[in-house]
């Protein structure tokens, strides 16, 4: 009787071990690749960038991620793209809310700012509305800092429109020709703040 029970139990244990191994291994891999672009991020407030993601020194997670995403990354001498998927308080960015960017970018010859979906593809606003902002067209305060209003409704000053409908969005702030890209972390960098002003009609 005992032999018969073992006869069924051993294959069951083997099947369970295989199930955990394959299920867990594949799930963990998919999760790791979708959650992040690898290690080596620099995080400044709400902004996140991967200055070494395009190099041979990138970690295996970053290499796997970029091989799946298939994007043309910026080279070191070209610039560095920061993305924000949440505001300064950690709330995910949504088209239902209004935000305000204030402050300065790290030194760069040019920067551009536009709205993307969570995969990094630009979201086009309604025809006629500004597609983004850049360092040439942004209106600045006397100390060269700037304030940008982000939301669905038009606002005076610098305004970046969010698309209609309620969906999670991200912001891409690309610095072109910036020492930040080769930064060893020794320079004190500060990115503009990203504050939520309110949601809905509030």
């Amino acid at each position: 009787m005992k032999i018969a029970a073992n006869l069924f139990r051993v294959p069951l244990y083997v099947a369970l071990a295989l199930l955990i191994a394959f299920g867990g291994g594949i799930m963990a891999t998919l999760y790791a690749l979708n959650a992040s672009s690898g290690f080596g991020a620099i995080r400044l407030g709400a902004w996140e960038a991967f200055p070494r993601a395009q190099t041979a020194d990138a970690d295996p997670y970053a290499k796997s991620h970029r091989a799946r995403a298939g994007q043309l990354l910026l080279g070191t001498a070209e610039g560095l793209r920061f993305t924000a998927t949440q505001d300064d308080s950690g709330q995910p960015l949504s088209t239902a809310c209004r935000y305000e960017i204030t402050g300065q970018t790290p030194p760069a010859r040019l920067w551009t700012l536009y709205v993307t979906d969570r995969n990094g593809n630009a979201i086009e606003p309604r025809p006629g509305l500004p597609v983004g902002l850049n360092s040439w067209v942004v209106a600045r305060h006397p100390d060269s800092s700037f304030t940008i209003a982000i939301g669905r409704g038009a606002e005076p000053g610098n305004w970046l429109p969010l698309p209609d409908g309620e969906q999670p969005v991200a912001l891409a702030l690309t610095l072109f020709d910036t020492p930040t890209a080769g930064s060893s972390g020794l320079i004190d960098l500060s990115m503009p703040g990203l504050r939520r002003v309110g949601c809905g009609r509030a």
Binding site: Y13, G24, G25, L33, A67, G70, A77, G79, T112
Partner: protein, 182 residues
């Protein structure tokens, strides 16, 4: 009970191993990587201007103020020369090998006279060229490429609408041709 715990531990060790194997092996066979997409554009040794929206190869330059062009190349037989000139506020070049590792990157400030003129060659080709540098290459930046296959991306910035034509002309005039010394 002990057997069950043992089974779960074995399963988790297996999961960790499989995770490592997938992560390390994935870059070699996704079929979605940038090099595969660039080569799917068409013949090598010419620039393809990218649109704002992803095309059938899935490549796009999403930044509304940036225009980009890619050139897949193979320096197995002859070196490849990249050239472009024009008045744009900013342009940049990055050369990747077939694993999408950055080999070389530059922007207009690091160029000679603001024009793009780069020769990509293998170490052997470069040694031969340097023995008697052709006059045409005196101003060129010589880039050593350890692997034969790769691609180049040129980006031009147009921060204002009025500069978009200049950026487009810069990319349309960019050349990516095999270089044979006279």
């Amino acid at each position: 009970m002990l057997k069950l715990a043992f089974t779960v531990v074995i399963g988790l060790v297996g999961a960790a191993l499989l995770h490592l194997v997938i992560i390390l092996a994935l870059p070699h066979f996704t079929g979605l990587d940038a090099y595969t997409r660039v080569t799917a554009k068409g013949d090598p040794q010419r620039f393809y201007i990218l649109g704002e929206k992803p095309d059938e190869t899935g490549l796009a330059d999403s930044d509304p103020y940036v225009q980009a062009a890619v050139c897949p190349f193979d320096i197995g037989d002859l070196p490849v020369r990249l050239q472009a000139r024009g008045a744009v506020p900013f342009w940049s070049l990055v050369i990747y090998d077939s694993s999408s590792n950055e080999v070389f990157s530059m922007n207009d400030r690091t160029s000679a006279g603001g024009a793009l003129d780069v020769l990509v060659a293998s170490p052997v080709q470069l040694t031969t060229l340097r023995k008697a540098l052709p006059e045409a290459l005196e101003q060129s930046i010589l880039v050593e490429m350890p692997r034969a296959e790769g691609y180049a991306v040129v980006r031009a910035l147009a921060p204002r609408k009025s500069l978009e034509d200049a950026a487009h002309a810069f990319l349309a005039g960019a050349s990516c041709e095999e270089f044979s010394s006279p």
